[in-house]
Symmetry: none
Subunit: 213 residues, 4 copies
DNA sequence: CATGAATGAGTTTTCATTCAT
DNA sequence: CATGAATGAAAACTCATTCAT
C-alpha cells in the first residue's frame, strides 16, 4: 500500500531530494510535478503511485525537515554537558552545518513561517514547536549550573535566544534577512558576510545582555 | 508605468488595494490577474497598460509597502522625544496599528523575507533596510539621553530590538510565528494571545536585559 | 457575462455543431475537449470562456436537442388538423426528417435514456417528458373526432404510440435497434431497411390494433 | 482467453461479477481496470493474462449477458404450456426477477442499445436477436391455440410485445425510461412506481388491443 | 505463471499576456 | 485610450497497458 516506503532507501532519498530541490528553488506553487519527476528520474505516473498528490509529497518533505531538525539540532545538545555559551555557539554552528548539508530542506523549513503556507503550518504536528522546549531546557539547565543570573526568566531568555536562532537560520536562506544582518553588522555590500561573523555577533550580544552590572 | 501615474489618485489607490488584497490572500503565484482586475473594476487590458506585467505590479505594491513603513513607522518616531521605553512601546503599537489599517500590505511586506521572493527582495532598493537605521538612531538617541548603559553597543541593541520588532510583525500575519509566540509566552491553545500580551512580554524582556545589576 | 450568447449566431452554431459531432461519435466520456476545440476552430481557452466546463457544454447541447424536438416535432402537429393516421405518419416522418437534418443532436437525445447518463437525465427539466403530453393530446383529439374507439384509454394508446415513436427513433441512431427492427420486419442482412418500411409497418400495426372487430 | 477458461469456475464468476459491477456503475469508459482488479482480487497483470484488453473483457461480459437472457428468459417459456396472457405476464415478471438477480448484467445489456456502443453491438453475434424469435414463437404458439385473432400478423404482434418488453426492461435501469413510464401511467413524483403497476398496465393494454370488437 | 511497479500520453482546466476593435 | 475575447502553453492528475522480477 505505502508504495513509497517499499522503495529502496537510495531511491527514496533521491526522489525526496529532487522534489525538495524544486520546492526550495521555486516554492510550493512554483514547482511543477513534471520538473520534479524529471529531476527524480521517475515517470509522472510513478510519483502519483508514491504520493497521493502534490500536497502529500510536500508533507512528507516537511516531515523530513522536522526529523532533521529534531534529531540533528534540538536533541543533539541535551546530552552533551557544555557551558551555556558553548552550547549556544554549537547550536548556531550546527544550524550552519545542517544548512550546508541539507540546504534545500532548511529552505523549505524556513518557508513554513511565510504567508500562504497556513495550509501546511496548521496541519503540521506542533512538534515543530519543540524548538521552543529545547531552547527553554537549554536555558534552565544553564541556570541550574549558575551560569545565568537567577532573576532572568527562563522563557524570556529562551525567546531572546530563539529569536537569534531563527533569524540566523533565515539569514542563511533569505536574501532579505541576509541583508538585514549586514545592515546591523555594518558590513558593506562588497564585503563578505560569513556565518562566523554572524555567530560571533550574536554571542557577543548574549554576553552583554546576560552579564551586565 | 507612466500611464498608471496619470490616473486620478483615487483610482490608483483602488487598483493597488485590490491587487494587494488578492496577493495577500493567495500569494504572488496564487493570485490571478483576472481576479485582480475584477476587484479593481478595470479591464484586463487596462492593467497591462498600467503595468508591464504581474511582476511589475507586485514591485509597485512593494514600493507602497515601503512607503507605508517608512513614513508611518520608521520616520514617525524620530521627531517625537519620548523616553526609550515609551518609544519602543509606541513602535510596537504602531506596528499593530499599521497591521490593522493595512493588513494586506503588511502581509505582503512580511512575505518579502520568505523564500522564493528573492526575485523581488533582491531587486528592491535597499531602502527597505532603512528599518535598521531608524532603530539604530532610536538607540543612539536614547543613549545620548543616558537611558541606556554606555557599554552596550548601539548596533547590538538595535539588532536585538529589531529582532523583536520583526518577529512581532511576523506573528501578526503568520500562523507559524503566532504559535511560536504562544509557546514562549506559555499561552494555551484555547486562550487568547493578544498583541498587548506580546508587547508587554517584549518590553519586560528589554527591561531585564538592559538594566541588570 | 454569458460569453457564449454574445457570439455571432453563426459561430455559436458552429461550436455547438462541432461539439455535438464529437459527443455523438464518441459519447460524453469518450469525446475530448481538445478534439472539440479543433473541430470548432477555437482555442482551448476560448471554450472555457464560453462554458464553465465539459458538463455545462453538454447541458447546453441537451437544451438544444430539447428545443429541436419540442419546436419541430411535438408542437408542430397540434395546430394542423389531419386525420389521426396522417398525424401519426407525419410524426414518424418528421422524426426521420429531424434525424437527417440534425443527426448528431438526435443521437445525443437518444443517448439520454442510456445508462450512466443519470447525471444529465436527472437534471434536465422534465420538459423532455413533454413528448408524453403531445402524444396524449394527439390521441385525445383524435378521439373527439371519433377516429378512435371510445373504450380505448388515452394513456394506453398514447403509450403504445410513444413506444413505436421512441423505438423508431432509436433505430435511426443505434445499430442494435436497427437490427431489432430488421428481425421483426423479416428483412435480410443484405436487403435495405428503409425508414419507409419501418413507418409502414408501424402504421399497419396501429391500424390492426385499433380497428379490430 | 484460454487462460481465463482454465480458471476454476468460481474464480471466473468472481472476476466477471466484479468487472460487471464496475461497468454497470460507471459505464465502459468510466470503469477502471485497476478498480476492477481490486474488486476481483486479482493483480493488474493477471487480468491481462486472462483478457487481451478492456474491450475483450467487455465482450466476455456481454456474452454472459446473452447467456443469461437466452437461458433464463427466452428459452424458459417455450417448454411450459401456459395461456398467452400468463406467458406474457411470466415473461415480464421474469425480466424483473432477472434484474433483481443480475442487476449489473441487465444494466450492461440495456446499454448495448445505446449510442457509442456500436463497437460492441456490431461485433456481437446476432444471437442477441434471438429475443425476436422467441417472442414470435410465443405468439405463433398462442395463435395455434386460438388465443389470438387469426388476422393479427405474428410479426406485428410480436413487435408490439417486444416493444413493451424492452421498454419495461429499460425502465428498470434507466432514469429516463422510468420517468417515461410514470408520465403515461400518470403516477406522481412522490408516489411509488412498482413493477407490478407497470406489468398490469402493459397486460391491460395488450388485452385491449387484441380483443376489440 | 503471477505480480504490481512503471510508463507516458492523455485528460480537463487555468491563466498571464496579447491585440483587434 | 480602453476593452475583453482569444490564445496556447502549462498545470495537476489518471489510466490502459507492459514487463522485469
Amino acid at each position: 500500500m505505502n508504495a513509497f516506503a517499499k522503495l529502496p532507501q537510495k531511491k527514496q532519498v533521491h526522489i525526496l531530494d529532487a522534489a525538495t530541490e524544486s520546492f526550495a528553488e521555486k516554492g510550493y506553487f512554483g514547482a511543477s510535478i513534471k520538473e520534479i519527476c524529471q529531476r527524480a528520474d521517475i515517470s509522472n505516473g510513478a510519483l502519483y503511485k508514491y504520493f497521493r498528490n502534490k500536497e502529500e509529497l510536500y508533507f512528507v518533505i516537511l516531515k523530513k525537515c522536522q526529523d532533521i531538525l529534531v534529531q540533528q539540532l534540538y536533541e543533539r545538545h541535551t546530552q552533551l554537558n557544555h557551558s551555556f555559551k558553548t552550547t549556544v555557539r554549537m547550536y548556531l554552528e550546527q544550524i550552519e552545518t545542517l544548512h550546508k548539508k541539507y540546504p534545500n530542506y532548511i529552505r523549505i523549513y524556513a518557508n513554513l513561517g511565510s504567508n500562504n503556507m497556513e495550509l501546511f503550518s496548521q496541519k503540521m504536528h506542533d512538534d515543530f514547536m519543540k524548538s521552543g522546549s529545547y531552547v527553554i531546557s537549554m536555558v534552565s539547565e544553564a541556570k541550574q549550573r549558575n551560569e545565568i543570573p537567577q532573576h532572568i526568566d527562563d522563557n524570556v531568555l529562551a525567546f531572546l535566544l530563539d529569536n537569534y536562532f531563527i533569524l540566523f537560520l533565515y539569514s542563511l536562506v533569505s536574501d532579505y534577512h541576509e541583508k538585514r544582518f549586514r545592515s546591523f553588522l555594518r558590513i558593506k555590500e562588497n564585503e563578505a558576510l560569513t556565518s562566523k561573523k554572524k555567530i560571533n555577533f550574536i554571542l557577543d550580544a548574549i554576553e552583554i545582555f546576560m552579564h551586565q552590572r
